[in-house]
């Protein structure tokens, strides 16, 4: 009993702290009722740490309806998710983080290994995570921190990644995607087929790059390799010499005035593109959608060198045990059961368990988003806004085409410290 009191006290305090972030979710979930109800409901509350991108009020509302679990979102930036996990493991219950952060998170010992046996649909999780291949068996690029390299631990309390599948997973995948360059086809007026175009003098002063070192360096590597200046053994794990070379090429371009700006925030990338400040830049899928929903042409351009991919998943804080832990598993199981997956797929991301998501989508939606077919009807976002008119088809085509074309994954390099220093030098150049 004492334990329960402690937990409820804690969550009430954290509720105050995160009141802003949680207010929307709570209002939607309708927790603001009489006092007696509050006490029992507080025991079914999970503090969900992650970036705002994945934290939808709709999902919180639906999970409340289906399972009675109240989700309190703690929304921070990608870098701050990592920081929180390492420095404040008691400030959250469940974390939604990227696979590439695991090289920092797992050695800290602040995450619990996820027991695959307790995940009902674990066997149905796409083999991209477990084997590094598509459901049809095709192997995909594994440079960088590919999920299969960090998916499993050697044991429950191990801080070592296992090369082969075990019962203990680091993260249970939620969402992933393949990123590429975004372009303004109406201003470029010719086909773009290579990452090398980012440095094409034709776009001098009209290109932009992502200013998050661990992701930006991967885009740089794709560009440098595409220009034929260097072939990396592993773009996601460069040697010092390779980092120097990559930054040298990019620095020369920067000094020649190639870049209009660097962006760090999702909205900055949308503004740069929609205002015409840039015509070609590193971009994320929902940002392309946001530009398009303003009626401005923007393409998430498939390129011959392939995509830079990323993936994120759920883990539980080491401070969580007993009933709370069961609750976390219940939520993760719910997340994989289809509704959330369909919701994510409709935003242009991909869900971990495809079969359940498919069951929750209309056939024409599945055909558009996952099979790359022309839309039979107008395609709408989860909130009902029109994304594409009937007849349009998705940039890059089907799931197999896009995920099959992955060349590398976001990563933390062994020389991360050196890379960050060189990145600062690049910015200062």
């Amino acid at each position: 009993m004492k334990k329960i009191d402690e937990t409820s006290g804690l969550s009430r305090r954290s509720l105050l702290k995160t009141a802003g972030a949680a207010a929307g979710a709570l209002a939607g979930a309708g927790t603001i009722t009489g006092f007696p109800a509050v006490h029992s409901q507080e025991n079914k509350t999970l503090r969900y740490l992650g970036t705002a991108v994945n934290q939808s009020a709709d999902i919180a509302k639906k999970v409340k309806e289906d399972t009675g679990i109240t989700i309190e979102y703690v929304a921070v930036t990608t870098d701050d998710v990592t920081k929180r996990v390492i420095t404040q493991p008691n400030s959250y219950d469940l974390v939604d983080t990227e696979y590439f952060s695991l090289k920092k998170l797992v050695p800290s010992g602040n995450l619990l290994a996820m027991d695959a046996k307790k995940i009902k649909l674990f066997d149905q999780i796409t083999p991209i995570f477990t084997k590094g291949e598509l459901p049809n068996g095709k192997k995909i690029g594994d440079q960088g921190t590919a999920p299969k390299k960090v998916m499993f631990l050697e044991g429950q309390h191990s801080t070592k990644f296992s090369k082969t599948p075990t019962e203990w997973a680091t993260l249970i995948p939620t969402v992933y995607n393949a990123d590429t360059l975004g372009i303004r086809p109406d201003l470029i007026k010719r086909p773009i087929t290579s990452w090398a175009e980012l440095l094409n003098p034709e776009f001098k002063g009209k290109a932009a790059l992502l200013n998050i070192p661990s992701i930006g360096i991967m885009d740089c590597a794709m560009v440098v390799e595409a220009t034929g200046k260097h072939k990396y053994a592993d773009k996601g794990n460069m040697t010092k010499a390779e980092i120097d070379l990559t930054m040298k090429v990019m620095t020369e371009a920067k000094q020649a005035g190639q870049f209009r700006a660097f962006w760090k925030d999702f909205n900055e990338s949308v503004n740069l593109m929609s205002s015409g400040e840039t015509v070609i830049q590193s971009m994320w899928s929902p940002a392309v959608t946001a530009v398009r929903s303003k009626g401005i042409a923007c393409t998430f351009q498939p390129l011959k060198e392939g995509y830079r991919s990323w993936a994120s998943g759920f883990a539980v804080s080491k401070g969580v045990s007993g009933p709370k832990q069961e609750l976390a598993y219940e939520f993760v199981n719910w997340f994989l059961s289809g509704w959330a997956g369909a919701y994510l797929n409709r935003q242009g991301y991909y869900s971990a368990v495809l079969s359940t998501a498919k069951a929750n989508m209309e056939p024409y939606e599945w055909a558009y988003w996952m099979e790359g077919k022309p839309a039979e009807k107008d395609i709408k976002a989860p909130d009902g806004t029109l994304l594409e008119k009937a007849g349009a088809s998705r940039d890059g085509g089907s799931y197999e085409d896009r995920m099959g074309g992955v060349a590398c994954w976001n990563s933390i390099m062994d020389e991360n410290d050196y890379m960050v220093r060189k990145w600062n030098e690049f910015i200062a150049a």
């Binding site: 990592t82 390492i86 660097f262 600062n424």
Partner: protein, 321 residues
Amino acid sequence: MTTTDSIPTPRNPAAAAIASDPTLSREDASPLGRVLPGWVQAMPFGLVFLAFFVVPLILVVVVSFFDYNDYETIPSFTTRSYVENFEGCVSQLPDVCTILKTYGSTLKFCFLVWALTLVIGFTIAYFLAFHVRSVTVQMTLALVCTIPFWTSNVIRMISWIPLLGRNGLINQMLVGGHVVSQPVEWLLYSQFSVVLAFVHLFTFFMVIPIFNSMARIDKRLIEAAYDAGANGWQTLWNVIIPLAKPGIVIGSIFVVTIVMGDFITVGVMGGEQVASAGKVIETRLNALQFPPAAANAVLLLVVTLGIITLLTRVVDIRKEL
């Protein structure tokens, strides 16, 4: 009432108590009894200062000498963060190393913004203090200066973007008026836009202290200067500026410290392409590399304190107030 009244003359409790005030010593002859009330009065603020300034500062200095890896800070003494910070400063000669380039850029912004805000701020303050006769109008106009502060820093910054952008208002006017054939690119995401945003944001911090100093200048001094045959410039240079010095120095300290530590304005207006000392700290923090972030913070503090020391050498603020 004017703002003149709100400036404290040296009447603060600690100073009064520590200075051997005869009215206090009359009741309590022992030295302890003389000093104690002052310390007690100063203690609440002293404790706040200790807990939220001195202790964190010491921790920053301590952490800056720690070692680190990808996921943790290792409490063992090393000068690695400082050594790596100055990497290439000798070996790359005659090329300038990153850290010097970064500080060079930051100091340049600092100087430009300081010079511009000083000229603009001084002019506005001069107008308010000497050309506006009615105190009501003076106060109203001073309040008008605060209007930009009704919205957040970030919004004031971002609102420049649609104005200065490639397809922004100014470029539309220039191209539409056939002044230029191609949109002017350097208006946004350039050093120009950074300085512009800084000046827009911080001129107010110059206006108020300078206005405050000027409002306290005895008008009879100016009349005397006039009677003695000084022209307008001579009065300005020999009477007003020397008497407005404390305001100028206080305003300068505000502007210099803000610009030295800023990374958001430089980031947004410079398109994240312009280096600043604050940005280096942010990048290190985001990469979870706390010791180098701390080392950079110490460096920034030393440089900023150096500038402020120089400024206070020019004018002894405590004496002038």
